[in-house]
């Protein structure tokens, strides 16, 4: 069990997708495909839960009983090397949870069901693979494998501009990941002299080898070039300003469940990649780049928030809030170079916790926007001036829904408050830690960054007021409140948001030992 659980986590969804093909043809039970998908992801969630119960944060990856290292391609020294540590376990849990929830949220997909759910499961496998891989080649393969299902999921089941959104997402991400590919091959060849003439993709081994690279290329330090290529790859995924323009489009056009996955899991891959690969392998460059990273983080916070304020489409607003929230992660990550040990620890812990918490909060936001959209088929906070129906142009899209949909409104209130970082909800703790860390290293920048909290409050509260408060819009007197299935998608996430808001210890315990070893690597390079 211990040896096979990680492989099971990755390949269970693939198995589910394969089983679907014959089943859809020969077994004529309604919704059988959806139940298979639900069962697969449910089982995956249980396995992830079991993994969490048996996870010992004090062990390093190499000591962990779950790690598997098998030779795959001998002459190129590629290994099937997967393992789990404090950095990856929150992401694995998040992926398993959101995949399960998203299958539930996709229950009313009625177009090309087989295609949708099998692609979704492949996507799930790819995500798991990224978070579990410890071999760079394997990591890259899983990273790219996700693109194809995502392209189809946006392009076939998305909104009106889906074709453009799909190809834009694909091209952007591919552009970044191909630079990552160059960096990967570069790391392999430039470390050969330090490893007895054998190249390696083993990320654990590379932690020792990569910092020894001292070659020059075109007058630049090779380490610096490697860092930049890796950074382009990850920055597009995060997305870091100015690479963020694919995000609002893709998030808005994607179906609800896919938006949840995009915002909840895929964005985290960018920061996870930075922490898993760039940070330990190139600590010298991290130190040199930290200030820039912090500036980019602050730009992300402010730029995302300002854009969100300007949005009149609820989903687009949520999408831009993601850009803003990922900025906190970057600021916290940059704080690793802080002169005070406590500051560095706060920043890094905050960053990893924010990755998890933003995943849950934004998932909730997208799910809830989707619930409203399913009933009303629009999500305008305010109708745009050039709306087809000139009577509606410039008027409020909704209004007073709180009296019509009390439970739903309460859920949205919780999600919005979590999004703007209200104390006692999980977002507050991680954002505060990011700022504490950031302040210990970059005083002025962090002060400017805190403006983001204010801006976040503006758009969330204003949107809430416009949609839910005030007199009930007559057009929506027949709206029904959130139903049980939809509630079932939101409640587990809301529970985690509340839990980690008042009792973040389980989360901190999971990540802290991996974080502190990462910090000591970076601090050693200052």
């Amino acid at each position: 069990m211990e040896k096979s659980i990680l492989s099971l986590l990755i390949f269970l969804p693939v198995l589910g997708a394969i089983i679907m093909l014959p089943v859809s043809k020969y077994i004529k039970i309604p919704n059988v495909i959806k139940y298979i998908a639900l069962g697969t992801t449910g089982l995956q969630l249980l396995l992830a839960g079991w993994l969490y119960m048996n996870f010992d944060a004090s062990l390093s990856v190499m000591e962990s009983p779950f790690t598997i290292q098998v030779e795959w391609i001998k002459h190129f020294n590629i290994e099937y090397f997967i393992g789990i540590d404090g950095l990856s376990i929150p992401m694995v849990l998040l992926t398993a949870l959101l995949s399960f929830v998203c299958i539930l949220a996709s229950w009313n997909i009625d177009k090309k069901i087989l295609g949708y759910f099998s692609l979704f499961l492949l996507l799930d496998a790819g995500m798991m693979g990224v978070f579990l891989s410890l071999d760079f080649f394997l990591f890259y393969i899983f990273w790219e494998v996700m693109l194809l299902p995502m392209y189809f999921l946006i392009g076939i089941w998305g909104g009106p501009q889906r074709h453009y959104a799909a190809i834009k997402f694909f091209l952007y991400t591919l552009f970044g990941s191909l630079f990552m590919l160059l960096a990967m091959i570069g790391l392999y060849y430039f470390t050969i002299p330090f490893n007895d003439g054998i190249g390696t993709f083993n990320l654990i081994k590379l932690i020792e080898l990569a910092p020894q690279i001292d070659a020059q290329l075109w007058g630049y330090n090779v380490q610096w070039l490697l860092w930049i290529s890796l950074f382009i790859g990850f920055a597009i995924k995060v997305p870091i300003f100015p690479f963020h323009t694919w995000l609002p489009l893709a998030h808005v056009e994607a179906p609800t469940a896919i938006s949840v996955i995009l915002a909840g899991v895929l964005l985290k891959m960018g920061t996870y990649g930075l922490l898993r690969i760039s940070y330990p392998l190139l600590p010298g460059e991290v130190v040199a780049f930290a200030y820039t990273l912090a500036i980019l983080g602050v730009i992300n916070i402010l730029w995302g928030a300002l854009n969100a304020i300007a949005q009149i489409d609820m989903k687009k607003m949520v999408a831009y809030s993601s850009v803003s929230h990922m900025g906190y992660v970057l600021l916290g990550m940059a704080a690793v170079v802080s002169p005070s040990a406590a500051g560095a620890e706060a920043g890094m812990n905050g960053a990893v916790m924010q990755m998890f918490n933003h995943g849950t909060i934004t998932a909730m936001l997208f799910l809830l926007v989707g619930v409203l959209y399913d009933q009303t088929h629009h999500r305008w906070i305010v109708y745009p001036e050039n709306h087809d129906n000139q009577d509606l142009a410039g008027k409020l899209g909704f209004g007073g829904l709180a009296s019509q949909m009390p439970i739903y409104s309460a859920c949205v209130a919780l999600a919005f408050f979590a999004g703007l970082g209200l104390p006692a909800l999980s977002g507050f703790i991680s954002e505060a830690l990011c700022f504490i860390g950031g302040f210990s290293a970059f005083k002025l920048l962090t002060v400017i960054g805190t403006l983001g909290i204010l801006l976040n409050a503006i758009y969330f509260l204003r949107a809430y007021q416009r949609v839910f408060l005030g007199p009930l819009n007559k057009a929506y007197e027949k709206l029904e409140d959130i139903n049980t299935r939809e509630l079932a998608t939101v409640v587990p996430i809301a529970f985690l948001v509340l839990l980690f808001g008042v009792y973040p210890k389980p989360l901190v315990d999971m990540v802290s030992s991996a974080i502190s070893s990462l910090i000591s690597i970076i601090q050693g390079a200052i």
Binding site: K74, Y140, V145, L148, R162, L182
Partner: protein, 483 residues
């Protein structure tokens, strides 16, 4: 080795000649129906003879040809692709039944020429073998005699081809003039003593024109789109793979032996003193892949688009060639193998679609993903593979091309250009994918796929996954040829 004892190393080629002649004779004596059996038998025997051929036979026919493991491998690639073309041609509706015999005979002539291209080591043989491939190819391009486009393709091909081979002949005569020999190993001996690099540059560039035209390297690619569009699709499929394979074989062998200081294909080569041809190849590689990709973006015709994509793939392979290393050659051979399968499977599906839905343009592919789901998935695999993305073997091939730059520590800038090109190429390959899956179509037409065509498509497409999951055996086999 003298002529008589050489023959035992020449049996596959010998059998090709006999088979092609018999094909024509059978046609004349009204045995048309037995032609299929004859060709099948012939190809099977050729394959068997090739299999039992010693891998390192050495020079034959007084140093005209050489049998080594390098040519052995290329011959297999050529034989496999040609055989599949002959089988699929049976099911192409485009080819008029009347010309089937001519088609088969011509293909066999080209096959002979390509075999000779892989093992020529004499300037005369190099020229003759290229012409033996070119001249039947001109006819093949124009085999639809009542089709205007096909005629145009043939004419353009003839004019361009004779121009290029004329220049190449001039280059070869320079080479003979400065060295006094036609055997490339002898040329290598004397060329190292010549201290005037311009004379060598002159012949090198002219020869490169001849080879470059064969593999459609920029700026000699102009014929490719027109010829590919005008020729019947089955001929286009043939042109896009087999002559490219043979062209790379002759390019690699000639350049490695004549213009480097190594005299052999088994060790890493260093360009001759003062002759920096690797840089020329690197620049041409960048130009080739960029031109191929940028022009492919605008195409609506599937065949024309695949023609440009072929050009860009040639650019990618030239990238590995520009490193002048064994790693590079292995990378090219590895990539050519994968490229052969993925490109042919894409073309065969195009043929199937043309047969059934009469679709030539990309927008006519609308909804193919729902009309014929199985083939559409194979097409998707092939296109993803051509674009070089996981989970397909095209990705693996591309990694091996990239890695030669790092392994030999040169031309890193070329890697960045190649990466930008990969991103561009995704866009146009996915125009087809978009059309297949995102556009709805309510045209329901009876679909009729002959079983052999189906099997070949499945066989060739499944390698996209197989060699992605585990490519060690193939790579190790190619590496073992160089020991």
């Amino acid at each position: 080795m003298n002529n008589l004892s050489s023959i035992s190393y020449f049996l596959p080629e010998f059998l090709i000649i006999i088979t092609s002649l018999f094909v024509i004779v059978f046609d004349l004596v009204s045995l048309k129906k037995s032609n299929d059996i004859l060709i099948g038998l012939g190809l099977a025997c050729i394959a068997f003879l090739l299999y039992q051929l010693p891998k390192n036979g050495g020079e034959i026919f007084h140093g005209m040809l050489i049998n080594d493991s390098f040519s052995y491998y290329f011959k297999w690639l050529i034989l496999i692709s040609t055989t599949s073309i002959i089988i699929v041609s049976k099911y192409s509706k485009e080819l008029d039944l009347e010309y089937k015999t001519e088609f088969n005979a011509l293909i066999l002539f080209v096959l002979l020429g390509m075999f000779l291209m892989t093992n020529s080591i004499d300037l005369l043989m190099i020229y003759l073998s290229i012409e033996l491939v070119s001249i039947p190819s001109y006819i093949l391009a124009g085999i639809l005699k009542n089709d205007k486009k096909s005629n145009e393709a043939s004419l353009k091909y003839v004019i361009f081809g004779s121009f290029a081979s004329g220049l190449m002949l001039f280059g070869l005569s320079w080479l003979y003039g400065i060295s006094g020999s036609t055997n490339i190993y002898d040329i290598y001996q004397s060329i190292a003593m010549i201290d005037n690099p311009y004379m060598i540059y002159m012949s090198l560039m002219l020869i490169l024109i001849g080879f470059g035209y064969k593999i459609s390297m920029a700026p000699l690619h102009y014929w490719t789109p027109d010829v590919y569009e005008g020729s019947p699709t089955i001929v286009t499929a043939f042109f896009s793979v087999a002559p490219k394979v043979a062209g790379f074989a002759i390019l690699i062998r000639t350049f490695f032996i004549v213009f480097t200081g190594s005299n052999s294909l088994v060790v890493d080569a260093i360009p001759l003193d003062g002759i920096n041809w690797t840089l020329i190849i690197a620049v041409l590689s960048a130009v080739t892949m960029s031109i191929g990709n940028l022009l492919a973006l605008k195409q609506d015709n599937v065949k024309r688009m695949l023609a440009y994509s072929t050009i860009s793939h040639v650019g990618f392979m030239l990238m590995a060639f520009s490193t002048a290393s064994i790693d590079g050659i292995i990378g090219i051979m590895f990539y050519l193998t994968l490229y052969m399968f993925m490109n042919l499977s894409a073309f065969f599906i195009v043929i199937h679609v043309e047969n059934n839905f009469n679709a030539e343009n990309i927008d006519q592919w609308g909804g193919m993903g729902y009309k014929s789901p199985v083939l559409a998935i194979f097409m998707l695999l092939s296109l993803v593979s051509l674009a070089g993305l996981p989970p397909t073997s095209g990705f693996v091939g591309k990694v091996y091309l990239f890695r030669t730059l790092f392994a030999t520590e040169q031309f890193y800038w070329l890697g960045i250009i190649a990466i930008l090109n990969s991103v561009i190429s995704l866009y146009y390959y996915f125009k087809i994918v978009k059309s297949m899956y995102f556009d709805e179509s309510d045209i329901k037409e009876e679909e009729n796929t002959p079983l052999p065509l189906y099997l070949i498509i499945i066989l060739f497409s499944s390698q996209n996954i197989l060699f992605y999951m585990y490519w060690s055996p193939l790579y190790n086999y190619i590496t073992s040829l160089f020991r």
